[in-house]
Amino acid sequence: MLAVSPLRSNIKDEKKQGEMEGNFSMATTTTTDDVVFGDLSEGNLLESINFDELFVGIDIHGDVLPDLEMFGEFSVDVSTGEESSEMNSSAKSSKLENDQNVIATTSKKEEEEDKTSCNASGQDLGSNRGEEIVSERDESVVVNPAPKDGGKGRKSSSAQSKNNSSSNNNPQGKRKVKVDWTPELHRRFVQAVEQLGVDKAVPSRILEIMGIDCLTRHNIASHLQKYRSHRKHLLAREAEAASWSQRRQLCAGGGKREGSPWLAPTMGFPPMTPPMHHFRPLHVWGHPSMDQSFMHMWPKHLPNSPPLSWPPPAAPPQEPSFWHQLVPNALIPGTACFPQLLTPTRFGSPPVPGIPPHAMYKADHDIGLPGPLFDFYPSKECIDAAIGDVLSKPWLPLPIGLKAPALDSVMSELQRQGIPNIPPSSA
């Protein structure tokens, strides 16, 4: 008996000892991961919490369990085996009430036992107790997936009850490590995907290209899935923006006055994709559950709200916030023509002269836009050009789309002024 129990504990404990140092560092990571783990699968929520490891980490520093301080570092050879074993017993007895303490105690005790393998009596008692305790704990403590890769292999020897305390990490190997997709990591991911081609991108290949050890194929696969769905979403928006801008162009009367970039005829779909790429590397998908907020995250650098995530079309090489820039940039005197382009976008009115009144409400805050753009009288050339355009193309829709006055009313007013109307022969 005496011989057997220490042996048994030795086998396991040796492994555990080796792990212990690792555990200490892992304990903290475990904690973090555990928190994150919660999202992975509801059923395993409990499993994700390895009290054992948590407390192991904590206890080592002797905070929670003052008694354990006496055990000192595990790596230190305990020459005074007797003392430790005695301490073990006493410690254990006091901890029997405290399940968590037991966990820590058990592991520690086992460590001690290992070191003091020569010791007989105390150890035996301790180990026996330990087994009991461990078995108790086993029922309450569930398997914990290994925090990172470290403990997985070593901890899988969960056959013995004693080992369960620290060996519960991922015995079934179901749990996947939560990957933190940092911007840098994501950028590499995107690079890899683009290199392969979005549709062709296979997780295993991506993994190869990225060449990061901590990532599993599964991590990549799920991230890829998210990425793809996000792209679809973005493309849909771009399409919408493209068609919307087309309509806008019409409203702006061709708007080719100064050939502003965003009025370029290339309203095609594909050109829009590249600019979006500018966004992607900048942002990271956070927690999987944050899917809804992606759209806001991606174009985060656009100062404005989500509607701006579809930047003015046909401005691929240009900054995504072109729209926004229209406002501050148009302070240049020479470019007083800008408002011509800007205003139509504000209203986005269909090419119909008559606009429902509610569209005018937009004018309330939107009309202020042309204002800040320039404080001076627009250049003559600009006005001339604009007016000329109107005169030459009477079929074009109204830029603002104000509600046209009743003809009769205008005519009567004009007659009152002494003008029979008709295009007057003299100016």
């Binding site: 005018m360 309330d364 604009a386 009477p394 509600k403 009743a406 002024q417 003008i419 109307n421």
Partner: protein, 93 residues
């Protein structure tokens, strides 16, 4: 009268031109001047159409006027500040 359609067209034209001027953030007077100069439209016509538009689109014009006024005051304030700054820099104490 066969003129009615052409009158209507003319008025539509003036309407459109006025909208363009609004895009340039002009006042009614400025608009009248511009249209007269560039499009040979009698200021009185411009003014009439403008007034009618204002009647039909009250809120728009209210907002328009307000924003113009704001801008003007902003400009004025800025100028005032600038003058104060330059004055103070010139001062020798």
């Amino acid at each position: 009268m066969e003129d009615s359609s052409s009158s209507a067209a003319y008025i539509r034209l003036v309407h459109r031109l006025i909208e363009e001027c609004i895009l340039f953030n002009m006042s009614k007077e400025e608009c009248m001047e511009a249209l007269s100069k560039h499009a040979n439209i009698k200021p009185v016509i411009t003014s009439t159409v403008w007034k009618e538009l204002e009647k039909e689109n009250k809120e728009f014009f209210e907002a328009y006027t307000r924003s113009r006024a704001e801008r003007a005051s902003e400009r004025e304030t800025r100028q005032r500040i600038q003058s104060v700054v330059s004055d103070s820099s010139k001062e020798r104490i």
